[in-house]
């Protein structure tokens, strides 16, 4: 297998999935009609409801859904089962589930006066569905905050060339916000100044490595005489100098690890509490250019590598490692675990829930829902595919460095020197995770205030809700087991996807339409995800909780595993409650005549 074949397969899947399946559903089942009024045209107000060109909306929607999820998921799945199962799930998932989830959420909102999915859930299923939705969102955000926070802290602590670029990104983000909103500088000159300086600082990263390693980390670690603050056993990491398949290492939490963790959390704190124009938005914007340049160059390199650099175009990673990727007593059966490990590149509940809040209120014509919602999902699939290719051409190494080496090799194909290309790829990975993480806490703060604000008014204070969110995530970063954190995050995400498809199914039933295109993926994702959460809970019990419980000095993994098992069970119980309510609601719709029969003709 080489990269060109994979790129061609990806493009063919996108083309045929879109033209032969998605377009037919749009025409025959949904019957999108350009002559019907959309909320954007009916309620135009220049703020929320604004008729917008579908090309503009396509770019906006794609940027709103594409980030670190498809990249990290593909990297992790390829390491567990090999590149072939990951490729198959990405392709099949996006063709039959992913686009359907994103597109149908948008079109359902368009047909319901632009209401968000939570409002529609309240009406179609039951009032308590909205409360449960908050539960999903909160745990989803907590898990992703813990997982991404852990990745970032590991990288900043262990890869000393990385911090300079991150500091540059933050400073340039602040400068961009000031230039745009206070000094009234045009977007193009402000972008040129800030993005070029950020690129320069990223490429200077290796030169600053000595300072961060020998001065910053060393002086922080000297506070404890270079002794770890805590040592605990992590049973999911391969044991060094041991036979293959042997797992378990004594993880040492050094003061420098905590220092960088607190730096990340401070960054996220400002992203959460400051006005959005002052911090979060400009940092995301500058970060977007870093990742966009790396991804576009990487995709071009992946397609051209067969011709220009055939030696790097061949896959080095094993195609198929086996049906069960688990070692050391852990279960990682391909079903259901693959389907939650790769979430966003194949199907994502987050897209449906939040992509459907603003986009449907800006669609000028209902016929634009497919190119915007479905098209953006097929493009996200290509992003996941690029991440899979990047890790597949590099045979060894851990997740993030392996991805950076692979993407760096692709970028080098188009003429960028390899060292700079790898630095750029590594920075792109860090930036894409970092900008997501700061926004996670911003949204978590809002969710917490809405969820608990009425019963506990203190949570309405943005500082209190932010600090509580950060403290919970820090707890997971220090005690959680990364792979299980990621799979639980995938479980929460995919349960939201099945909930979104469930809503669409009920809506289609209530309007007398054929609901199979949403109903079958919904049942598959619902059953798969509940099973995956149970497997993760078992893994935590068998490989983390049981071997460590009662042993002195190993309290941290025991507490972390216990907490994560509780989260897994809460998610499953919440899903079962929603499933029961939906079953009752579907009987209600079946027993009464269709309120709004589908129009005749295409």
């Amino acid at each position: 297998m080489n990269t060109l074949y994979a790129v061609v397969i990806g493009l063919l899947v996108s083309y045929f999935g879109y033209t032969q399946y998605a377009r037919k559903i749009d025409k025959n089942v949904i019957q999108a009609d350009p002559n019907k009024m959309t909320p954007a045209r009916m309620y135009t107000d220049g703020v929320d409801f604004v008729p917008t060109s579908r090309n503009v909306l396509f770019g906006y929607h794609f940027k709103s859904i594409a980030a670190a999820g498809p990249i990290v998921g593909a990297i992790t799945a390829a390491a567990l089962w090999g590149w072939f199962p990951a490729l198959i799930w990405l392709a099949v998932g996006v063709t039959f589930l992913g686009w359907a989830s994103d597109y149908s959420a948008i079109i359902m909102s368009v047909r319901n006066e632009g209401n968000s999915l939570s409002a529609i859930a309240h009406r179609l299923i039951a009032p308590r569905t909205r409360i449960i939705l908050f539960l999903f969102i909160f745990f989803y955000l907590l898990l992703v905050g813990g997982a991404f926070g852990g990745i970032l802290t590991d990288i900043l602590n262990g890869q000393s060339q990385a911090p300079l670029g991150i500091i540059g990104l933050v400073l340039m983000g602040l400068l961009l916000g000031q230039m745009l909103y206070r000094w009234r500088v045009g977007l193009i000159p402000a972008t040129l100044v800030t993005v070029i300086i950020t690129f320069a600082l990223i490429l200077l990263g290796p030169a600053s490595s000595g300072f961060f390693k020998d001065t910053v980390n060393a002086s922080v670690n000297s506070m404890t005489g270079n002794q770890p603050l805590v040592t605990y056993f992590d049973p999911t990491v391969a044991t060094p100098n041991a036979p293959a398949g042997t797992l378990g290492v004594e993880r040492q939490i050094m003061p420098s690890f905590v220092f960088w963790g607190l730096v990340i959390l401070a960054f996220c704190y400002f992203g959460s509490v400051l006005p959005i124009w002052r911090w979060a938005q400009p940092v995301v914007y500058v970060g977007f250019w870093i990742t966009a340049v790396a991804m576009v160059l990487g995709l071009a390199g992946a397609a051209l590598a067969v011709v220009l650099r055939p030696e790097i175009a061949q896959f080095q990673l094993v195609a198929f490692k086996g049906w069960d990727g688990g070692v050391g007593g852990a279960l990682q059966p391909i079903w259901p675990m693959l389907f939650v490990t790769i979430a966003c590149g194949a199907i994502s509940g987050w897209h449906a829930l939040f992509g459907s809040v603003r986009t449907p209120r800006q669609l000028e014509y209902a016929t634009a829902a497919l190119p915007v919602g479905g098209g953006a999902m097929f493009m996200e699939f290509l992003l996941g595919l690029l991440a899979l290719l990047a890790v597949s051409i590099v045979g060894t190494g851990g997740g993030a460095p392996r991805f950076a080496n692979g993407l760096g090799n692709f970028i080098s194909v188009v003429g960028v020197p390899l060292d700079y290309a790898v630095s750029l790829a590594f920075a792109a990975f860090i930036v894409i995770v970092l900008v997501v993480t700061q926004l996670v806490f911003r949204v978590m703060r809002v969710t917490l205030a809405e969820w608990l604000g009425e019963s506990m008014p203190a949570f309405r204070n943005i500082h209190v809700s932010t600090i509580v969110s950060l403290a919970l995530a820090l707890f997971l970063m220090l005690t959680g087991t990364w792979i299980y954190l990621w799979q639980l995050f995938g479980g929460a995400n995919q349960l939201m996807a099945s909930l979104s498809l469930l809503l669409v199914t009920l809506w289609l039933l209530s309007t007398g339409r054929n609901a199979l295109f949403a109903g079958i993926p919904m049942v598959f994702m619902y059953v798969t995800t509940i099973a995956a959460n149970l497997v993760t809970a078992y893994n935590l019990y068998a490989t983390v909780l049981l071997p460590n419980v009662g042993q002195s000095g190993r309290e941290l993994p025991v507490i972390g595993a216990g907490l994560m098992i509780i989260v897994a069970l809460i998610l499953d119980v919440a899903a079962l409650v929603i499933g029961y309510d939906a079953w009752v609601a579907s009987r209600r719709f079946r027993e009464r005549p269709a309120a709004q029969p589908a129009p005749v003709g295409a």
């Binding site: 309620y43 135009t44 107000d45 220049g46 703020v47 929320d48 604004v50 060109s53 090309n55 503009v56 909306l57 396509f58 770019g59 906006y60 929607h61 794609f62 940027k63 709103s64 859904i65 594409a66 980030a67 670190a68 999820g69 968000s116 999915l117 939570s118 409002a119 909205r130 908050f134 992703v144 745009l180 977007l187 972008t191 959005i276 124009w277 979060a280 938005q281 995301v284 914007y285 977007f288 966009a292 966003c344 994502s348 987050w350 829930l353 939040f354 992509g355 809040v357 603003r358 900008v435 997501v436 926004l439 996670v440 911003r442 949204v443 809002v446 969710t447 809405e450 995400n493």
Partner: protein, 95 residues
């Protein structure tokens, strides 16, 4: 459609796509900031129309002819039921 026209249309579409990915969120945010100022002014002068008690509407009456075209949209906007997920920040998060 001739080849030149097709190329022009393609370039226009690509430009709009790039605009959507980059500058559009700033445009939206600027619209929101302007809207917040407008809502404040409207509530201070015409708040009684949506049940907010205000001072005797002398200035409201002076301004009324200028805001008549926007009144219905404004009332619909501020009285629309909002859910937590409608918050502006949510669309920025990209996972």
């Amino acid at each position: 459609m001739s080849l030149a026209e097709r190329i022009r249309a393609l370039r226009r579409s690509a430009g709009q796509f790039l605009f959507g990915m980059t500058a559009y969120e700033f445009v939206q945010h600027a619209n929101h900031m302007r809207h917040e100022q407008n809502v404040l002014l409207m509530v201070l002068t015409f708040g009684d129309m949506i049940g907010v008690p205000i001072m005797p509407p002398y200035y409201g009456l002076r301004l009324l002819p200028f805001v008549v075209p926007e009144l219905e949209t404004w009332k619909r906007q501020v009285l629309r039921e909002r859910y937590a997920l409608d918050k502006e920040e949510f669309d920025l998060i990209e996972i």
